[in-house]
């Protein structure tokens, strides 16, 4: 598994749609350009939702998504 230099970790385990995406947005707003937010979620929908969100939204880039046993880990970089 690739390791990323993570600036902050957001734990939304147990939370459901729309919270993983909404809280990711709120948290990434606090980061500086180039920094990476790690998002830990248990919502299986977060795989598609966070990907779609990052694709459509300016200023963010989905670096990677990893599917663990019960936890989906997402890495989102702030690009502007």
């Amino acid at each position: 598994m690739t390791q990323y230099e993570v600036t902050e970790t957001l734990d939304v385990k147990g939370e459901n749609c729309p919270m993983p995406v909404v809280k990711t947005k709120q948290n990434i707003d606090q980061l500086a350009e180039g920094e990476i937010l790690e998002v830990l979620a248990t919502d299986p929908g977060s795989m598609s939702d966070l990907g779609g969100w990052a694709d459509t939204t300016d200023g963010v880039e989905l670096v990677d998504q990893q599917e663990g046993d019960d936890v989906y880990t997402h890495y989102v970089r702030k690009t502007e």
Binding site: N16, P18, M19, V21, V22, K25, Q26, W53, T57, D58
Partner: protein
């Protein structure tokens, strides 16, 4: 066959310099028109106040805000109850008229059955860690979603402007909603 360009330069034919100037002018206008980097907009009209129907506008509004949309949600008729601080805590789920309910309509119509199905739904929401209505409203407001309470229905329902959550816009009507819809990239009636 060659074209005689000097012949084409009659009196009403613009000169090369004029054309160049016109192109510059149009390019500037085009740049101004396409440079519009304002955020995309979404306009939702929320008309329902049952527990199940309160979720879609709030989920879509908060999610669109996360996508960078400027969102307005215009609440009218029973949709007002979603913004009503007291009533939003007691939104009900109807047990009748929904064939997906596990009870037949004849039973569902008995007094108190709405309360039972609402409790069942609230328990499911809680067990599933689904966000509450209050949580979604707070989050949406925090993300800059504008909630508007239709003035005509506030008067019709005999509500007071102070009954609504802080940050809710009152004193707006259909014209405001139309204006928002006209400007919006996404318009929804829920």
């Amino acid at each position: 066959m060659s074209t005689n360009t000097s012949q084409a330069q009659g009196e009403d034919v613009p000169s090369r310099a004029e054309l160049a100037a016109r192109i510059d002018e149009l390019e500037t206008e085009l740049a101004a028109a396409t440079e519009d980097d304002s955020n995309p907009k979404m306009s939702i009209i929320a008309t329902k106040g049952t527990l199940d129907m309160a979720y879609p506008p709030l989920i879509l509004a908060s999610t669109a805000a996360a996508f960078g949309y400027e969102v307005t949600v215009f609440h009218t008729f029973w949709g007002l109850d979603i913004l009503h601080e007291e009533r939003s805590k007691n939104l009900q789920l109807s047990s009748v008229g929904n064939p997906n309910m596990p009870v037949p309509n004849a039973v569902a119509a008995l007094p108190g059955m709405d309360r039972v199905t609402t409790k069942m739904m609230e328990k499911k929401i809680d067990d599933n860690d689904t966000a509450t209505i209050k949580e979604l409203i707070d989050t949406s407001l925090d993300m800059g979603v504008e909630f508007q309470a239709c003035q005509m229905t506030i008067d019709l329902m005999d509500y007071d402007e102070d009954d609504f959550y802080d940050g809710v816009t009152t004193g707006v009507g259909a014209a405001t909603a139309i204006q928002d819809m006209a400007d919006a990239d996404i318009q929804l009636l829920i």
